[in-house]
Amino acid sequence: MKVAVIQFPGSNCDQDTLWALRLVGLKAEPVWHTERSLEGFQAAILPGGFSYGDYLRAGALAKFSPVMEAVRRLASGGYPVVGICNGFQVLTEAGLLPGALLANTNLHFTCKDVYLRVERTDLPHTTGYRPHQVLKMPIAHGEGRYYADAETLERLEQNRQVVFRYAPAPEEAEEGYNPNGSLHDIAGIVNEQGNVLGLMPHPERAVEGVLGSEDGLPFFVSLKQALEGIA
């Protein structure tokens, strides 16, 4: 029952993710991107940051890292794979999740708290949430505008693959809550099998009251329970 946190050159939320995983009592180890095997790991997280400086395009260069083959194998074995922020970008670039993440419509990096609605609570990552629960979580990205063609979007909705959607703050005005122009207000999606999940907001930054929100905690607790099921 051990989670791999993949370190690409330029990842910078790797330690924060390890901290959050260990906080809920999961075993977690960093894995350098040149590793070719994830032997002994039952889950992998691709953390946030700027893999390869996000040069060319966020996530575009990291998809070629040797470790990605092992991540792919883990995913096809049905084990949980999570991409947070830059990790989500890497998963779409690598084709493990559909669609792409484009430059925010405001054209700049944005770091602030946003609100998310949980659309699915039956996934290994989300059993700890209530249906339609609204979460407060920080975002910190410049390229987070979810895009997919109409057909793909349709399929995502049909299959209930949208897991998190940007939403208005409780008791606040409706408009302006989508921070980056994502289609269908998409903040996070899962693959058809339900084990590979990517999201732009940072649950690992919302795991303690002292950081301003604990709404990310159930994410990691869910994962822990799911992994206990696997073991």
């Binding site: 330690q15 400086g53 700049h108 770091c111 940072h202 303690e208 950081l211």
Partner: protein, 736 residues
């Protein structure tokens, strides 16, 4: 040498008297390369030749100080085996030439200073000064603001160090000469502290990016006034690469953690020249550098270009005996060059070899010990006159409610969210008090109950009108900001941005600024542990106001006991420490509403300042107070409005004083703090203030969605939403 200047002196711009000194030190004439080595090492930026005698006046010792000035950064002890390294650094001239890369490389440079101490950078701050946003000059100002903010965001976000605080100030005197100072704070185990040292016979490794023709002569450039000629210096722009920066950071810190290295030094201004010669000098040794081994980005670089290049993302590491291979393997894992380009020697000379030939050889002490200058200063009479200006006939504004909205919308007081939202302020998951929520940022130290608070501050209007008093205010205010979140200030770093020290006015402003800092340091018991001097911020038609950017670091022993600035609990009582009446002279109000910059900054009673800060810290420590805010630019009304904004909660307050209403609402004075307290705790809180002999008033109660102020003859009221609107929009237009 009499008569005409030798061509080399004309080319390098080394003054004749310094040239004579160089010949004396060498016992011969220098060759061209050697003369350039002296030029950069004897520049103000590297040698502090005009400021060093003055900087000696600053107190440097304190119980928490582990490393004072003289190393890459200062270090203070914060207990439980932890220490904090911090320093501020200017990148004014590069940012004026190319704002994005100038600011980005400024951030990269200060991060390397922190990691050179063996510390992991955990927070960045910045202190920015720009010209006017209004009028025809506004276009250039907006261009600079956008570029600088983008550059800071680009580097800090990508390397993964949160930008947690800073300050921005607009003033016409910065129109031609913006200021960009970056501060970095790092965390280290006290026993992993590293210095810029090497022992005899050790190989000296070059680690990081390759050397290109970047910023050739930058250190010397930074010490020159900006002129038409700077335009032609443009091709030398340095480009920051946060990706390489991140890899270099991880290699350096991992090398220290594994105890592979005995000495660490960053390559900053004057690149190979200053990093290697200074390291050798501090170690009491000499050093031989082989330029053939230096990793190069371009073919055909000559020794002069290699020695002066300011390519970014380069470090100097000195491995422990027998750990050379481990260091090379570690760097290889991250895909970085790690090459032993030099080795230390007993003979105290800095020797540069290229193609098997010695191309320069100079005594290390000669490079390190530039002549220093003590000059005559004289105050500009126009400033003395402005300070003495009589403000008594000042008319009262017609509409005080509107006046507050106008002040909140002024560039120096409006919301900074459009700026700080572009900075990742949370990476590292240590940021407990984020920008906009408190007067200082708070970072926790994982695995302990401790936290540190940081803030950088300077009021150029005060410093312009009275440099000495202005500097005192800067330190007092930065420390006050740290105290009102509940932290005990430990030490500070200072970025002294001034005009040309070779003019009597420039020298006067520099020396007065340092004297003011020295006086405030002593009275507040705060030592300086690091800093930077950026002089020559002056051109034929302007000189910036002396701008001492003071960065204070404080300690919270128990993170749970802290305060933020927003009203959060209806029913709490609002208390003002200090007098309700402020001074209109030198105030933001005087400038915004009456278009004047005149009078003296408010007097500062340092003993009372220290007592006020100690009092608020005690109230927070007792957990009686969780909301506190200092009263700064814009006065009481602006401070109260700022307390309403974070959570949208208002207050109804009464100010009792016979003073004129604008002095009550917008007058400025130091040592004033607002806090809230539950009614049940009021007595205890007030007793703590009385015990310290601090004047105070209970103003009223938190609640509702309006801010209501009752003055002796007037009742003023604002909807919090209206305050927010005025305050939130102005910078959004600059940074959409």
């Amino acid at each position: 040498m009499e008569g005409t200047l030798p061509p080399l002196l004309q080319e390098t711009g080394v003054p004749l008297h310094e040239y004579r000194e160089i010949v004396r030190l060498l016992g011969r004439e220098p060759n061209r390369l050697e003369l350039y080595l002296f030029k950069v090492m004897w520049s103000e930026h590297c040698s502090y030749k005009n400021s060093r005698p003055l900087l000696r006046l600053l107190p440097k010792d304190g119980p928490a100080v582990l490393q004072g000035p003289g190393e890459n950064a200062g270090v203070v002890d914060i207990g439980e085996g932890w220490a904090v390294a911090f320093k501020i650094e200017s990148h004014n001239h590069p940012s004026a030439v190319e704002p994005v890369q100038g600011a980005a490389t400024g951030v990269g440079g200060i991060i390397r200073d922190i990691m050179a101490m063996g510390a992991r950078p955990i927070a960045l701050l910045n202190s920015l000064r720009f010209g006017k946003l209004e009028g025809p000059e506004g276009n250039r100002t907006r261009f600079l603001v956008r570029g600088v903010v983008e550059g800071i965001a680009h580097y800090g976000n990508a390397i993964g160090v949160p930008t947690v605080g800073g300050e921005v100030y607009f003033h016409p005197d910065y129109q031609d000469n913006p200021l960009v100072n970056a501060m970095c704070v790092g965390l280290l185990r006290a026993d992993e502290l590293r210095r810029s040292r090497a022992s005899l016979g050790r190989p000296v490794y070059y680690v990081g990016s390759k050397t290109g023709r970047d910023g050739i002569g930058g250190a010397a450039f930074a010490s020159e006034e900006l002129s038409e000629e700077s335009e032609s210096k443009r091709p030398s722009v340095q480009v920051g690469d946060p990706f390489m920066g991140k890899l270099t950071l991880e290699v350096t810190l991992e090398a220290i953690r594994q105890d592979l290295v005995e000495g660490v030094q960053d390559m900053g201004a004057a690149g190979l020249t200053s990093s290697l010669s200074e390291m050798a000098h501090k170690s009491g040794l000499g050093l031989e550098l082989n330029l053939d081994l230096v990793p190069k980005r371009e073919a055909g670089m000559n020794p002069l270009e290699l020695m002066l290049s300011e390519s970014q993302e380069r470090m100097v590491l000195v491995p422990r005996a027998g750990r050379e291979q481990d260091l090379e393997a570690l760097a290889a894992r991250y895909g970085l060059d790690a090459v032993p380009v030099a080795h230390t020697i007993a003979e105290p000379v800095f020797r540069v070899v290229a193609g098997g030939q010695t191309v320069a050889e100079v005594p290390t002490h000669a490079l390190a010990e530039a002549p220093t200058y003590v000059r005559e200063g004289r105050e500009n009479p126009a400033i003395a006159a402005a300070r003495a200006h009589d403000l008594s006939p000042l008319p009262l504004p017609q509409n005080l409610e509107e006046t507050l909205l106008r002040l909140l919308a002024s560039p120096n007081l409006c919301s900074r969210a459009p700026i700080f939202e572009r900075y990742d302020h949370q990476v590292g998951t240590n940021t407990v008090l984020v920008p906009g929520k408190g007067d200082a940022a708070i970072l926790r130290v994982k695995g302990t109950r401790r936290g540190i608070a940081v803030k950088v501050d300077a009021n150029p209007r005060y410093s312009k009108l009275a440099p000495r008093l202005g500097a005192m205010h800067a330190l007092a205010e930065a420390a006050r900001n740290v105290s009102v979140v509940g932290a005990r200030p430990l030490a500070y770093t200072d970025g002294l941005n001034c005009g040309n020290p070779e003019t009597p006015e420039g020298y006067f402003e520099l020396s007065e600024t340092i004297l003011g800092l020295a006086e405030a340091s002593k009275a507040l018991g705060l030592p300086v542990v690091s800093g930077n001097v950026s002089l020559y911020n002056e051109g034929p038609s302007y000189r910036i106001p002396p701008t001492p950017m003071v960065g204070v670091v404080g300690l919270l022993e128990n993170l749970e006991r802290r305060a933020e600035m927003g009203f959060r609990k209806a029913g709490e009582l609002v208390v003002l420490v200090g007098s309700p009446e402020g001074h209109l002279s030198a105030s933001e109000y005087l400038w915004v509403v009456h278009g004047q910059e005149a009078g003296s900054p408010p007097p500062l009673e340092l003993a009372q300042e220290a007592r006020a800060q100690a009092a608020i810290r005690e109230l927070i420590e007792q957990v009686w107070v969780q909301t506190a805010h200092d009263v700064a630019e814009g006065g009481l009304a602006v401070a109260l409005a700022e307390m309403c904004l974070p959570y949208g909660l208002g207050a109804t307050l009464e100010v009792r004083s016979p003073a004129r209403p604008d002095a009550l609402l917008f007058g400025e004075a130091p040592s004033r703090i607002l806090f809230t307290v539950e009614p049940a705790r009021l007595q205890q809180a007030v007793r703590a203030l009385e015990q310290r002999g601090l004047p105070h008033q209970i103003l009223g109660q938190v609640g509702g969605d309006r801010l209501t102020l009752l003055l002796p003859k007037t009742r003023l009221e604002w909807r919090v939403a209206a305050l927010r609107k005025a305050w939130a929009t102005p910078l959004r237009e600059v940074l959409p």
